[in-house]
């Protein structure tokens, strides 16, 4: 294990890491509340996960095992790039197995396999402010959070039901954390929201362009907003995974040819592979 010459462990200097850790501590102390932090220039542009990378860099130690996923997959371009980045600047072990990772950095999905108390999941967040589209004034949005004045978000959901008959948010579905702060869970599918509730692992959220960090400590109450007569329902494609036959995981729709052929497969590649592996010996025995 060796890191690149001229770079501190995990790229960021220690003072920056300290600043980010302090922000993380504040975030953990106030679940769901956005903490501003002095985001640094990273060797990739905004919109590519700079926030998540800075959080990971600040908590990463030589003994950690890192998993990086993008839309549930370990083998997509971004996941590969970020994993290689940390290999070069930190020299840490990396893995695609959810169960073997101590830190999981993710873009837009939560792994299907339940996480443990000794794990940390770091989310990449484009827009940390759940009220952004409803209250464009930042000063006013801050006041609404301070006063827990969230009628506006319920109005948005009301509008969806009035217009479409149901709540239309399929991803980045707003949640109430610890019954106090309204939070954007990042653009994970609404299907993943229930996993956040009382998750055993620590959940950290980093937004690089907007320079905000927030957190959900382990075992915290997280509830998706809804109405009594229009309760929250996790949505997934009504199919079984073509590879592992799972009917309760989030699926990707893959176009297989240009004749309209398609198949549905688990978005979480590791989980799907594990299920397939468990099924294979049985099939071989048949």
């Amino acid at each position: 294990m060796s890191t690149m010459d001229g770079y501190n462990f995990a790229y960021l200097d220690e003072a920056t890491k300290r600043m980010i850790r302090r922000a993380i501590l504040k975030a953990v102390a106030i679940p769901g509340h956005q903490i501003p932090f002095g985001a640094r220039e990273m060797p990739l542009p905004y919109g590519w996960g700079t926030g998540g990378i800075q959080v990971t860099a600040s908590i990463l130690g030589p003994a950690d095992t890192l998993k990086v996923i993008d839309q549930g997959a370990d083998d997509t371009t971004n996941a590969v790039s970020i994993r290689r980045f940390f290999t070069r600047v930190a020299g840490v072990e990396t893995t695609a197995r959810t169960g073997e990772a101590s830190i999981i950095q993710t873009r837009h999905r939560i792994p299907e396999k339940p996480l443990r108390e000794d794990q940390i999941i770091v989310y990449q967040v484009p827009q940390p402010e759940p009220l952004f589209m409803l209250e464009p004034r930042r000063a006013e949005a801050k006041r609404l959070h301070a006063l827990a004045d969230y009628g506006l978000m319920h109005v948005r959901l009301y509008e969806d039901i009035a217009r479409l008959g149901h709540i239309a948010k399929a991803y980045d579905y707003p949640v109430m954390v610890n019954a106090r702060y309204l939070m954007s869970p990042s653009p994970i599918p609404a299907f993943d929201n229930p996993k956040m509730h009382r998750m055993a692992a620590l959940q950290l959220f980093g937004a690089g362009r907007e320079k905000r960090i927030y957190a959900i400590p382990p075992h915290t109450e997280v509830h998706s907003l809804d109405f009594e007569d229009h309760p929250f329902r996790p949505i997934r494609a009504p199919h079984a995974c073509a590879l592992c036959r799972s009917t309760d995981t989030y699926l990707d729709e893959v176009i297989t040819d240009d004749a309209g052929g398609r198949m549905f497969v688990c978005s979480d590649t590791d989980f799907c592979a594990e299920r397939q592996a468990r099924a294979a010996p049985q099939e071989a025995a048949e």
Partner: protein, 252 residues
């Protein structure tokens, strides 16, 4: 005599050298409509802003049910403005969410205080739209598709949905056509009676004050020059300025 709901005394506010309010006192009792009239620059709008906590005076206190409005903190004031108080702005666009449907506008205050049943919220919104004479079929329309008078009535519905005890109104009929004004005044009159509301209305329209108010305060250059029973002040004005104001009103 029971204690007034809102009581203010000694209110003074200067903008630099300009005295906007000079030692103004006013109170509003339960179920009472009080009009503050005066010309531009009289201080009436400033008074309304100070009374509703939007501006802080240099001196004097405003008490709501005995509590100092300016000492209670912004959180408490905002809660008040969402529950026991209402504010109808002169321009309905300042009091409405233009990108939210009529039903959403009316339902927002309910949702802000914890209403979580969509069907009930919608039913309540429909009933309020009917009360302000807006066709229920427009419940999902955006306010920008409404006429000025309709927007103003929507603002009133949005304000009254949580059954406030006191409603502040800032020139609610300003900018509306005369026939539309009549309808709006009639609506305010009947709703305030029906709901037992207290209303504090700022207007330069003496005829509107006569129609709506039990008591009237006449303001000039930051001071209250005369006040009392509305018909007494308007029919038997004592102060020279009040006499001037009343004699200047054109009769239709």
């Amino acid at each position: 005599m029971t204690a007034p709901l809102l009581a203010a005394e000694g209110l003074t506010l200067r903008f630099g050298a300009i005295p906007a309010l000079l030692d103004v006192a006013i109170d509003v009792a339960e179920g009472e409509v009080v009009a503050i009239v005066g010309e531009s620059g009289s201080g009436k709008t400033t008074l309304l802003r100070v009374l509703s906590g939007m501006m802080t005076p240099d001196a004097g206190t405003v008490r709501w049910l005995g509590d100092d409005v300016h000492a209670m903190g912004e959180a408490a004031r905002r809660r008040l403005m969402r529950t026991a108080w209402g504010f109808v702005h002169q321009n309905p666009r300042d009091g409405l969410r233009l990108a939210v449907s009529a039903g959403g506008n009316v339902g927002e205050r309910l949702m802000a205080v914890g209403a979580r049943h969509y069907g009930n919220i919608r039913a309540e919104a429909l009933s309020w739209l009917a009360k302000v004479e807006i066709d229920g079929h427009r419940i999902d329309d955006l306010p920008r598709t409404f006429s000025g008078g309709m927007q103003q009535r929507l603002q009133i519905a949005r304000t009254l949905v949580t059954r406030p005890r006191l409603v502040f109104m800032d020139e609610p009929t300003g900018g509306l056509d005369v026939s539309v004004q009549a309808r709006l005044l009639d609506l305010i009159r009947s709703l305030s009676r029906e709901l037992g509301l207290s209303v504090l209305i700022v207007t330069h329209d003496i005829a509107a004050a006569r129609l709506l108010a039990d008591r009237i305060l006449v303001m000039r250059r930051g001071r209250v020059v005369e006040q009392g029973l509305t018909d007494r002040v308007l029919d038997d004005p004592q102060h020279p300025y009040t006499q001037l104001l009343v004699s200047s009103v054109l009769a239709a």
